[in-house]
């Protein structure tokens, strides 16, 4: 058992290393002048991220299959989040190959994957029996995965939104060496952001509904005052405003990017607030 856990941690570290290598390669490629070399190195970066994704997956399978009282739920969940963001990014990359986006999104993936290798000391006895039984509940698992996909959509949208703000600022300021020339076009960045949000929103909504339903079933009440729940609902409502304003009032581009940033901030705060949450902290102790 011990050795399998150690392996799972090793694979998680390999995954982190590969993400970091992918990021470094993408950075290096952006500095190159020669288009052929640039293509080759961006190809390498993408391959490294894909390989990192595989290792992350193996690591997760091992730690889940050997799920024991000692298992670190926090590490598993963080690993899962890294895995889902990486998958989402790879799909976006496949569709639009927005190279500069990898410079923004890959560091975020590295951060989450890094957190997945730094497990906090597990309390003696591992997660509570209740938490353990809950993690074996398919609905709770679905709740987590759906919310994570919503988060992944947000991560890509916020990365794209940041690039949009940089490019837009360059064009508005009429700066002579506009960054727009190396970035994807405004319309493309806006499109990536929008599509990512569009995919993420229904999944996040479904994840929240499942969570609320189960909270009601288990605890007999929905803990709306709980920081994680509150922040998640806030993020969700901004998400909704974001899409709605786009459809009705044509809010896109800059305003959309700012709102995405707010939404992302709330989601991150919600994630960090897990530790303070009555409902969710049981997984971490």
């Amino acid at each position: 058992m011990e050795s399998i856990l150690a392996f799972s941690l090793l694979w998680a570290r390999v995954a982190l290393g590969l993400y970091l290598a992918g990021w470094a390669a993408a950075l290096a490629a952006s500095l190159l002048k020669d288009a052929g070399q640039q293509n080759a190195i961006f190809g390498l970066a993408r391959a490294a991220v894909a390989a990192g994704f595989l290792f992350q997956f193996v690591s997760l399978v091992e730690s889940v299959s050997s799920f024991t009282p000692q298992a670190d739920v926090y590490r598993i969940l963080t690993g899962l989040l890294a895995l889902i963001i990486a998958a989402f990014f790879l799909m976006v990359y496949r569709a639009w190959s927005p190279r500069p986006l990898s410079l923004v999104v890959l560091p975020l993936i590295c951060l989450v994957a890094g957190a997945a290798t730094l497990a906090p000391a597990t309390a003696a006895g591992g997660p509570s029996p209740m938490a353990r039984s809950l993690l074996h509940n398919g609905w709770i698992f679905l709740h987590i995965v759906l919310i994570f996909i919503g988060y992944a959509g947000l991560v890509v949208a916020v990365g794209s939104g940041l690039l949009y703000l940089i490019a837009e600022r360059g064009l508005k300021s009429k700066r002579l060496r506009a960054p727009g020339r190396v970035l994807p076009s405004l319309e493309k960045l806006d499109l990536i952001s929008y599509r990512s949000l569009l995919v993420g929103f229904p999944l996040l909504s479904a994840g929240l509904v499942i969570g609320i339903y189960w909270a009601d079933a288990l605890f007999g009440r929905v803990a709306l005052g709980d920081p994680t729940v509150l922040l998640a609902l806030l993020a969700w409502s901004i998400y909704l405003v974001l899409l709605f304003a786009r459809w009705s009032a044509g809010w896109r581009g800059r305003r959309s990017a700012y709102l995405t940033l707010v939404c992302f901030g709330l989601a991150v705060a919600g994630w960090l607030a897990n530790g303070m949450s009555q409902v969710h902290s049981m997984f971490l102790k």
Binding site: K33, L171, S185, G250
Partner: protein
């Protein structure tokens, strides 16, 4: 064999001096024929563009009077003073050729046309049978140098005309121009040029609006667009992704409120306004609206001149590449210079050996096939072993001779030492030998 280049360009003479010397396509073939007839010319080509007229020849012995040739070819009895021309030899000519090919010598540094023009000039010379080993080597290296400068520096990346900048800005906003609509306000030349370029680069629709409808119709017909009276701006504005304004109107035609209305109807899809008119056609405050980008004449000029400055900086890196390429070319050429001598030496040794063997063979009586082959092998390897060291030494000495005169002296010494046919005697033969050696 040496290269000689005579030229006149925008660096040395004004248009009124260059113009009469130009050799456009119709005059080029007769000029090349005339060039072939010049004494001492074995190879040659003529490059004639709006910015330069250059004659490059390879030949032996006394250099021909290229001034006179140019006067006759262009039909100008009197040429501009010699100070307006440049005459370059060998490595200087090669360096110039490489710089021209790489667009480092161009009026707009980094412009892409010159390489194509040079390739055409080369093709014309080839068609006239005026290209041999020397020009082939120089030109193929020039094309290579041009490619390196283009790919290894950012010399051609930044747009340097208003039209190019318009397309560049549109690309930064919309990505592709496909499915995009261009609205041209007014029928001014600059605006029309920018609109035409946007259409060439893939924009889908062109709407031409003008106070005088007939002018709009002429332009619209030319570029496959539709013509409308200026009053329709209010209805058509929302359809435009790119608005090019170039009217002589004293008041702005597009107010902030207009633009806001367009953008609202477009649900925030961005609009690019290129205001080429003075006084301006688009209210400057439109730029403050979300998703609206207004560039006026000054903004565009600033972009263009900054990019030209950027090109000049990149040109310095281009010059480094050129220096390296010229050095590489020189080294190859010097290596090539030794080839005829080396080939002659080997040929002479082989002829001697074959003659001696033929003579002795009759006296040896009947021999088996194996015996014959053994003696052939023995004599051949003796010759080769003995020649090895001189061949290596001669090649090395001729690659680093210091000066052209030193190389000539060296060649002559070797020829006399080994009693080879006179050095540099027959250029055509030497050339054939060179090709043989390459094969």
């Amino acid at each position: 064999m040496s290269l000689l280049l005579l030229g006149i360009s925008h660096h040395t003479a004004g248009l009124e001096l260059r113009e009469p010397l130009a050799l456009p396509e119709v005059k080029l073939a007769p000029a090349l024929r005339l060039l072939a007839e010049q004494p001492g010319v074995t190879e040659g080509m003529i490059l004639s563009t709006c910015n330069r007229v250059e004659v490059l020849i390879a030949g032996a012995g006394e250099a021909p009077d290229l001034f006179r040739f140019l006067a006759v070819a262009s039909g100008q009895p009197s040429l501009p003073p010699a100070s307006h021309f440049y005459q370059l030899r060998d490595s200087e000519a090669v360096r110039h050729l490489f710089r021209v090919a790489s667009s480092l010598d161009s009026l707009v540094v980094g412009e892409p046309q010159i390489l194509g023009q040079l390739k055409q000039a080369y093709a014309a010379a080839q068609a006239a049978g005026l290209v041999g080993g020397e020009l082939e080597a120089a030109l193929s290296r020039a094309f290579r140098a041009a490619k390196r400068v283009r790919t290894e520096t950012a010399i051609a990346e930044q747009p340097v005309s208003v039209s190019q900048t318009a397309v560049d800005l549109a690309r930064q906003i919309f990505g592709s121009l496909e499915n995009k609509t261009v609205l041209l306000l007014g029928a001014g030349t600059m605006g029309a040029a920018a609109a035409r370029y946007l259409m060439q680069q893939g924009a889908q629709r062109l709407l031409v609006l003008n106070r005088t409808l007939s002018h709009a119709q002429v332009l619209a017909e030319k570029h496959g667009g539709t013509a409308h009276p200026l009053e329709q701006l209010g209805e058509l504005g929302e359809q435009a992704d790119v608005v090019i304004a170039c009217t002589g109107a004293p008041q702005p035609l597009v107010s902030r409120a207009d633009a806001a209305r367009f953008l609202g109807k477009r649900r925030g899809r961005p609009m690019l306004f290129l205001d080429l008119a003075v006084p301006r056609d688009v209210e400057p405050s439109v730029h403050q609206l979300d998703n609206a980008f207004v560039y006026n004449v000054d903004d565009l000029d600033q972009v263009v001149s900054a990019n030209l400055e950027g090109r000049r900086q990149e040109a310095a890196r281009g010059e480094e590449i050129i220096a390296a390429e010229v050095a590489a070319y020189e080294q190859r050429r010097e290596g090539r210079a030794a080839i005829p001598t080396l080939v002659a030496l080997q040929a002479q040794a082989e002829a001697l050996r074959a003659a001696e063997w033929e003579r002795v063979r009759k006296r040896l009586g009947p021999l088996t096939r194996e015996q014959e082959q053994a003696i052939e092998g023995l004599t051949r390897s003796l010759m080769q072993k003995w020649l090895h060291s001189p061949l290596v030494e001669i090649r090395e000495a001729m690659q680093n001779p210091g000066t052209e005169a030193a190389r000539r002296l060296l060649t002559e010494m070797v020829h006399r030492l080994f009693d080879l046919p006179a050095a540099g005697g027959d250029e055509k033969e030497a050339d054939a030998l060179t090709r043989l050696a390459h094969e």
